[in-house]
């Protein structure tokens, strides 16, 4: 993964749970999973992100942070080919982002975009993950249902398949949508603010599960707002405010100068018991 601004180009890392970091350099000659080159994209002719260049490597775990309106969601949607490119190029495994290139990409949208009154059960949401592309006549087989049951077990949702999605806790709801993404056997999952609105326990459950998936070789890109949570749990960070301000390991990227440039606000960064802590500087 690289950017124009960061000195640690072509370095990727993985993180064990509880913040034990283990940076790993990409294999020489390895093809990046996602290659974003000089991309400007947005809606109605107005770019939401500009001149963005990033590489996501197989098995990498990346957090994209930045202010509201800074282009985090647009960046994810650009990787999915859902936002018109005004400039630049995006490839997945070397292919342009469309059709077969997206077959092994999972996407989990922000939970707040979900209509929680929609009459649908956990099982019905998960089944959607089996119906990628326009397979009109594909039928649900016994193996598919077994797959769903196994996934419910893995997500700690055993016995909840017939429940309405609104009847679950926030963490369980996030797990359902993550489960739908997993059913496509992805090698890359994009999650838009997976911890928004969750309590500490649920956030902990989500990050544990994400690390478990990541350790199985699935690359993960998430957007997040809580910088302390990102610093504690994630190995690689991209600071985005329409452009990539910086990227790298949290201890390298989370500096007052970078955060000032990213958020246009005064922030303090300090170490406490070996952990990076970020806080707002109180007004005088």
């Amino acid at each position: 993964m690289n950017s124009h601004n960061h000195p640690h180009s072509h370095v990727h890392g993985s993180l064990h749970p509880h913040g034990v970091e283990e940076p790993v350099a990409p294999k020489v000659g390895a093809t990046p999973l996602v290659n974003i080159t000089d991309v400007s994209s947005g809606y109605a002719g107005s770019p939401a992100i500009e001149d963005v260049s990033l590489k996501i490597w197989p098995g990498q775990f990346v957090a994209v942070v930045g202010p509201n309106g800074g282009g985090k969601t647009t960046l994810l949607r650009t990787m999915l080919g859902a936002v018109p490119l005004m400039r630049g190029r995006v490839t997945i495994r070397g292919e342009a982002v469309r059709g077969s290139a997206l077959e092994r990409v999972g996407y989990v949208p922000q939970l707040e975009t979900i209509d929680w009154n929609f009459p649908i059960t956990v099982e019905e949401v998960l089944l959607m993950g089996l119906f990628r592309k326009n397979h009109w006549l594909k039928r649900i087989k016994k193996d598919d249902l077994k797959k769903i049951d196994a996934l419910l077990d893995r997500l700690n949702l055993a016995g909840l398949g017939k429940r309405h999605i609104r009847e679950l806790s926030g963490g369980q709801q996030q797990a359902v949508f993550l489960g739908r993404a997993l059913l496509g056997d992805p090698d890359l999952i994009l999650l838009d603010e997976p911890t928004a609105g969750l309590d500490i326990r649920s956030r902990d459950d989500v990050i544990h599960f994400l690390h478990e998936i990541n350790h199985q070789g699935v690359a993960i890109v998430i957007t997040a707002h809580d910088l302390n949570w990102v610093a504690a749990h994630l190995p690689w960070v991209v600071c985005l405010n329409r452009r990539v301000v910086a990227e790298g390991r949290p201890q390298e990227v989370f500096t007052s100068a970078v955060l000032q440039e990213t958020y246009r606000g005064d922030m303090v960064v300090f170490l406490h018991d070996g952990m990076i802590m970020i806080g707002e500087r109180p007004h005088a």
Partner: protein, 295 residues
């Protein structure tokens, strides 16, 4: 239907099977009942998606847009299903195309297309005043005047719509529930949306002679709303809603026979009565449980 309204009501009040079956003596009633059940089921089925996609206004608008086509088919002496059908599909395509342009907005786009189409119909009527009865049938439905060949056409259209909706049900559900992710997962949401509007226009066309352009939207909206009180599972909704639509169609037909009131209006009022009863039960239940929680 020689008996007066009061005589027929008296027969209904006795609840004797022989008297309840008496409407079946009339062929027009049998045809009407079949049409009401079929249209009720079809509208109830497609209505699930109409309600969940918040497209009730499109259903209402398309039915009004068809009025222009119906009037044109009358004055050109062409088949209603061909004339109004072409008009309906064209209106649907136009609504779909305009509503995708963000600066207009779907509701405004529908308003422009449907009111223009309706106005064309009204303008033609004001010039040709010789077919008032046919126009009344298009506006308010003429379920008892459905000819056998119309019934066959309606049945064929309904079967095609049911079949296509069944084939695309999973993609349609995904595109309805989570269009952004559906698109990312390779589902052609634009094509699905377009196909759905076409099927909706076809459903409105098949239902117009039964329900009339003014009431067809109610047949698509009320049954799924009632069904939502009874299930939280989408697949069950697709079964319960058409059953409710068919039952309301049949009950409305019987009541309209005995009350001597417009059949389409009675079908809609029957469905509305079920809705009011369920809503009242829900309100009472909620109040009772909140009182119990306070105590």
């Amino acid at each position: 239907m020689g008996a007066t309204r009061f005589e027929r009501l008296e027969l209904l009040g006795r609840l004797e099977p022989m008297h309840l079956l008496s409407p079946f003596e009339y062929e027009f009633f049998r045809r009407g009942l079949f049409a009401a059940i079929m249209v009720g089921a079809l509208c109830g089925y497609i209505g699930v998606y109409v309600v969940l996609r918040r497209m009730s206004y499109i259903g209402h608008g398309l039915s009004h847009a068809i009025f222009g086509g119906a009037v044109l088919s009358y004055i050109t002496h062409s088949n209603f299903y061909i004339g109004a059908g072409i008009w309906a599909l064209f209106s649907g395509a136009l609504i779909h195309a305009i509503s995708r342009r963000r600066w207009v907005g779907a509701d405004a786009a529908i308003g422009v297309v449907t009111t223009t189409s309706f106005a064309i119909g009204v303008a033609i009527i004001s010039t040709y005043r010789s077919f008032t009865r046919n126009i009344e049938a298009a506006l308010f439905g003429n379920i008892l005047g459905i000819a056998p060949q119309d019934l066959w056409t309606m049945t064929a259209i309904a079967l095609v719509v049911f079949l296509l909706l069944f084939v695309i049900r999973r993609q349609l559900l995904f595109a309805t529930f989570d269009p952004e992710v559906a698109h990312a997962y390779g589902i052609s949401t634009d094509k699905i949306d377009f196909l759905f509007v076409m099927l909706l226009a076809t459903t409105v066309l098949a239902s117009t002679q039964t329900m009339g352009v003014t009431l067809v939207a109610a047949a698509m909206v009320i049954p799924p709303v009632i069904a939502r009180y009874l299930t939280k599972r989408f697949s069950s909704l697709l079964i319960i809603s058409p059953i409710i639509g068919a039952l309301c169609g049949a009950t409305g037909m019987f009541l309209s026979f005995y009350l001597d009131v417009s059949s389409a209006a009675t079908i809609v009022l029957t469905a509305a009565a079920v809705f009011i009863v369920l809503e009242t039960i829900l309100i009472v239940k909620q109040k009772t449980s909140s009182r119990a929680a306070v105590n």
